[in-house]
Point group: C2
Chain length 449, copies 2
């Protein structure tokens, strides 16, 4: 039996989009050649997707040096790296928790990097200001586009949400719209005029769309993929006026903005043009624009590959006899010892404290002790219309600066209360945390007993 036999056709389309018959055949031919089959050519030459580094274009040295130094800060002592590379890496590492690029960051991105991006956008737009608060860093521009679609598309509406998209356009965006159950409203670019966007066509498409759905957004790809067309400032102004009149949200996909050739051509961002238009327009039209480090001269599609390599190293670590083995096993052992010691200390401290109990930790990286609050404490929380463990955590934070999460966030049996503590810290940090917890907990239990 197979429960997955009838998977959603939308998902099926999406999975199949990566490999159509052509790509599958290309992979087959490559395999056949490797197995010795003789053809008129020695290898498949792939110009089907936009991959600079596969096409033999070398990565930018500066970028790779800084990334390498951030990943392995011992390189900061290395004389072979230029001074500005080291300074940049040091300044970026200062913004990472624990000085490690392996830490979590704020979900919209590291503040210093958002600030740097805002200055880049301001320079790009000839001084038009850009606030870091309006910048959201995601894993690639497609993730960002998908999130914007989720914000714009209302599945509750009886009428389907519509998005205007150019023809031609790259297929993954069309599939994403289908998957999010948006209605696709195509507008045709004019090939005779060098793939320009024609206003009459936009109007026609919108009227046609209004008959079948509720159009809320206009998607633009500038510079164009696959057309290689670049919009003029005048054309952008016309599009913005159209969006204002028709109350459409503009999704400006500008990921190829650094790829502009020809001496008489200049890239204008939708943000710049919009902000320099009449205030009745600039203050009303809503715009999300998209850029990335994956396209353009950087061509760094690297984040997922670096993650893949990390998986390889997890799956196949150094073995006894390998030069790296002693350090590796020492480090892993040390982490395990630290966590064992931490969990031991947690048990010791909890055993001394009234009203808190915890099962010995067997696995994972968290303990989830139960708090037995005095009735007074529960009353006090109810009065404030809060879960008792949330109120406990808020006061623990306020009074001691220790930040842990309340059990109510994870679900728990009615009238039971918990906190969740992370155990993967240095021992001195855990000791500090336990002292803070102890002090607060004693005072709290005394106050409400």
């Amino acid at each position: 039996m197979s429960f997955l036999k009838e998977i959603s056709p939308l998902v099926k389309n999406y999975f199949q989009s990566g490999k159509d018959g052509l790509s599958r055949r290309a992979a087959q031919i490559t395999a056949e050649i490797q197995q010795g089959e003789r053809r008129n050519y020695n290898e498949v030459l792939d110009l089907s997707s936009g991959d600079l580094h596969r096409g033999g274009i070398k990565p930018i040295t500066f970028v790779r040096q800084v990334l390498a130094a951030c990943l392995y800060p011992a390189l900061l002592e290395d004389d072979s790296l230029p001074l500005d590379v080291k300074q940049r890496a040091e300044s970026l590492l200062r913004e990472c928790d624990g000085g490690s690029v392996g830490s979590y960051t704020e979900s919209s991105g590291i503040p210093k990097i958002k600030h740097c991006l805002s200055q880049f956008i301001t320079r790009r737009d000839g001084g038009v200001p850009c606030s870091p608060d309006n910048i959201f860093i995601m894993s690639g521009s497609k993730t960002a586009l998908r999130i914007m679609l989720k914000l714009l598309i209302r599945s509750e509406d009886s009428c389907q949400t519509g998005v205007l998209i150019p023809v031609p356009t790259y297929p993954t965006f069309t599939l994403m719209l289908e998957e999010e159950e948006a209605a696709i409203i195509p507008y045709h670019l004019c090939e005779e005029q060098g793939w320009t966007l024609q206003m009459e066509e936009l109007h026609r498409a919108l009227q046609a769309g209004r008959k079948i759905c509720n159009p809320v957004a206009l998607y633009i790809c500038n510079p164009g993929n696959p057309t290689g067309h670049l919009q003029s400032r005048k054309s952008i102004e016309e599009v913005i006026r159209f969006a204002a009149e028709e109350r459409l949200f503009i999704l400006a996909d500008e990921v190829y903005q650094s790829c502009v050739y020809g001496d008489d051509t200049e890239f204008y961002s939708y943000k710049k043009v919009l902000s320099e238009m009449d205030s009745t327009i600039s203050s009303t039209v809503e715009l999300a624009s998209f850029n990335t480090a994956s396209k353009g001269f950087m061509g760094e599609k690297c984040p997922p590959v670096v993650g893949q390599i990390a998986l390889d190293l997890m799956a196949d670590p150094p073995k006894p006899g390998d030069p790296s083995f002693p350090t590796f096993s020492e480090e892993v052992q040390s982490i395990n010892n630290t966590i064992r010691k931490n969990t031991g200390r947690i048990q010791e401290v909890f055993a001394e404290l009234p009203g808190i109990s915890c099962h010995p930790l067997k696995a994972g990286l968290f303990v989830f002790p139960c708090l037995h609050f005095p009735p007074k404490a529960i009353k006090w929380a109810k009065k404030r219309q809060m879960e008792p463990d949330m109120l406990y955590c808020l006061h623990l934070l306020e009074e001691t600066g220790l930040h842990v999460r309340p059990g109510c966030k994870y679900g728990q049996r009615k009238d039971s209360h918990h906190i969740r503590l992370f155990v993967g810290t240095q021992e001195n940090i855990m000791e500090d945390a336990l002292q803070r917890l102890k002090t607060f907990h004693m005072r709290f239990m005394k106050e409400f007993s």
Copy 2:
């Protein structure tokens, strides 16, 4: 006016999940302390989320050395790196197109790394075989979980798709289920028994769930977050039997599998236990299990951060006077020159060829020439029930090994036909591609004229 005023409440919940009142207050207190406010403590101590490196645990040297060498292969010449690090980096780089981690990979991951992971799983499971074909590498286990949910949840059904999930569990998974419009069927873990999973409770939850939805999947988190509980082999067998009887797909979240403490404890994977059960069960129960490099001793949440750093470098590249500036500007200039030369050559070659026309490339990384097929060629394609440009691309690939994409994948006006060519390659590669295209195109046009 704001079109986003009434965003979907599901999306709102999801965005707010990252920062609840507690986390916001923690950030505020940190800011207040930085601005000089005095408190009983000097800094907020955060044990709320599972971030090893923030907690002062040092990254594993071997992992960081290999990643640094992959990103900046000049380090392979560096005497300071151990030999096994260099060998590993070299062997991984051989699997990356163009020898660069900045290239695309197959969408399920680099084959060699999938092979390495399959061997890791086989070793972990004491020899139970694991096929690389069943491994899908994603950007984190949450992405993989979401894709499994998309496969399992059928929005067309009149009855909501239900998923059994433990209480307590971490909140982002619950929100993901809400967002994907699945019904949540909670089963309570038994705190009195050390947070074990009780079969009676699973049965109770399923019966209750059947009254409100169509339960299709059972989500297990082992080792548990936040409970730190580890399932015994016997408990896993019971759960699998239950899933077999009730026809439930098992989603086994095993991301903390490397974090197991205590001498009498051992991690058993669902995969191993399932494969060692009676064949009536092992051949029918469907299982997806999840692991990651982000949890456990590796603690590498790095991919998005490396991407963020790349953005910083894109936004603020070396300036004149910086030691890296000469190399940087030379490299960027060289890429731009190459692309200009390539597009120039493309124009030259196309000008000579019959039945192909292309606008001068202004921007982006693709050209999208129009193919004017002879009527005979169109008839021939129709007979094969294919788009003429798809058939052209398939034959171009077959005869010359040149892989480009047909316009029908991007949308085009009825009866117009195109191909899309990537222009960001080394000049000799582009010349090779143009010669292959020319040879094929001449033959093709002659054959069908």
